[in-house]
Symmetry: C2
Subunit: 154 residues, 2 copies
DNA sequence: TCCTTAATGAAAATGATTTTCATTAACAAT
DNA sequence: ATTGTTAATGAAAATCATTTTCATTAAGGA
């Protein structure tokens, strides 16, 4: 968690009159230490190991909150549940562009042409902003396909 | 439905031993005649007007089927339900790149820089194919933001 | 230490989607 | 055209992720 015992998100929370609680610390701890794209249930199970009394409801509530605050992003990969990622993750900084196998559901954070993608996306973002009078807050790029292993199982 | 009374999808279906049924005709009819991004329930309601005895279950089953066949695409726009689009729609041919207002949930099929996007996407697709040994079947590009009207309501 | 109220946990409710199963109807063979 | 096989259907029940309710707890300012 950044090595500091009073991280910057504390300030962020307190400003909004929100309290620093064990469940919140635990949830952010889990998200900070994973490279995966965890679902609410998975985050809950992970948190549960250290804080067995934290409930699934609380996990859902805080994930929603963290998303509204712009701290995490919520993704849909087609497996019927939402998955969450820290927007500025120490584990995988930068973009969140995904390659998903529709067979085994594995999710790959790819790096190919990301520079160019970002460049174009920025341009598109500006165009959309202007043309449709939107204030853009985020984007999603996903490629779907079948991985080598799954192709073997056909 | 294409002006022909024996459309090409009939052949497509029969080849797989699948039958041409009223519900299937009705569902494709609805998808063919909309520019919207309909949910299963919305498709069901639309079908229901003409064929009141077609059930919601059947709509779900056939949407899944049509997706597997590569005839329609399933999207998630963050409102908790899946939405479907004909991949080759007579109403909006070409791409399916979306701009979504997180306030009012409106979905815009935008046209800005789509040429360039497709060009880059094709390049990325090839790179991913090679680098990760994937057979790419589709992609998703979405921008999220707040539209002008919704910004007023804050 | 006390007080206010944000936050929590457990259980119930909700809502989209899937499964079950008995019935119907496509369509190939007759 | 009639029949037989079985894919497809519809209704109801089941499932599963997520949300709501509500009584209780605890963060943090006074």
């Amino acid at each position: 968690m950044n090595g500091k015992n009073n991280p910057e998100w504390h300030r962020n929370f307190r400003q909004r009159g929100m309290r620093i609680t064990e469940p919140r610390k635990a949830i952010l701890e889990v998200l900070n230490n994973t490279t995966e794209h965890l679902s609410a249930e998975e985050i809950y199970m992970s948190v549960h190991r250290t804080y067995p009394n934290v409930g699934l409801t609380t996990v859902y509530r805080n994930l929603e909150l963290l998303e509204e605050m712009g701290i995490i992003a919520k993704f849909h990969f087609g497996d019927g549940r939402s998955r969450y990622e820290l927007i500025h993750s120490p584990q995988k900084p930068g973009h969140h562009h995904h390659l998903i196998c529709t067979g085994c559901k594995q999710i790959i954070d790819y790096d190919d042409f990301v520079e160019e993608e970002i460049e174009l996306l920025t341009k598109v973002e500006q165009a959309l902003s202007a043309a449709h009078n939107f204030q853009i807050t985020g984007h999603t790029i996903q490629f779907y396909g079948i991985c080598h292993a799954c192709r073997g199982n056909l």
